[in-house]
Subunit: 157 residues, 2 copies
DNA sequence: AGCTAAAATGTGTATATACTTATATTAGAG
DNA sequence: CTCTAATATAAGTATATACACATTTTAGCT
């Protein structure tokens, strides 16, 4: 790969190439677009896609700490902390000091549970649309590739 | 798909399932992680991955407007406007009024060009690592699926 | 017990992102 | 030519995100 990138004119071509090939760009772009679809679909439950995911994660790990949650979400602790605070303000979860007073204990509230229950069928609706559009097979491949990629990113890099 | 989601206990199982299956969550998660890799790699050029992409887009479409740029990037105009302003402040591009004084004309500066030139081999380095790790084939499939998905999201939904 | 290192989180700051609303400018109907 | 509708963008607001640094609390060594 011994290119020489000099004259400004060449950038037109290079730009096209990087746009097509850049995994980061294409991943972010698709995530941007898809997030809007999920947000739209979840509107009746007054949740955004990201908030749905966070609530679900809390539901699955009831009563854990910020750090324990952040790990599998591949998210910085500070990010998680702030996102959680928004849901706390909405009354969907509680954040309290645990035994170890460094650790915060996060729990779903009743309201949080019922919001999740309302959101679930909405989420399934989008998922099914996607499956219909892409086909089960490709969807499965996509998910698998995303998961193995993020697995690798967390461990090796 | 006629589930009954009621008792709180079931949410543990549902949480696991949604976490595995949610395209939006997995896309965002991978994008988060991968963005950090690109940001890290581009540090010597003092660029973040997103800024690299934006600069490249400008290089490919020199002298267009915000709106024209936003379209293929799948990005809201207001987002693009703000992201561009940061690069303008760094002296990497200029934003000026065009003929039509509603339209802003965006151009790469000399400095912007030279920063891109410095960044390009860094970008290639990450790309090659990814290709080595995932294998050319899977990488190609991933890119193709992302692109057709975002294509669909922009048109149909 | 007392001090130091490790652990968990929060805060400050900066960027990325979209939606809604406001503003300015042009184009088009009459 | 004038008023109105369409176009392009900016600004206000809220969320999502990470990194560096500060704070608090626990654990472990001596």
């Amino acid at each position: 790969m011994e290119h020489v990138y000099s004259p400004k004119e060449n950038f037109k071509e290079i730009s096209r190439k990087t746009g097509k090939a850049c995994v980061c760009f294409n991943l972010r772009k698709t995530a941007r677009l898809l997030s809007q679809i999920y947000d739209q679909a979840l509107k009746p439950a007054e949740l955004k896609g990201t908030q749905f995911s966070l609530l679900m994660a809390v539901a699955g790990q009831d009563n854990t700490s910020i750090g324990k949650l952040a790990q599998p979400l591949g998210m910085d602790r500070s990010t998680l902390s702030r996102n959680a605070k928004i849901l706390e303000k909405k009354g969907l979860l509680t954040i309290e000091e645990g035994e170890d007073r460094r650790r915060q204990s996060i729990k779903l509230t009743e309201k949080g549970t019922s919001v999740l229950r309302r959101a679930l069928p909405l989420w399934e609706g989008v998922q099914e649309s996607l499956a219909r559009e892409m086909g089960e097979e490709r969807l499965k491949t996509l998910l698998k590739d995303l998961q193995s990629l993020s697995q690798w990113l967390k461990s090796d890099f």
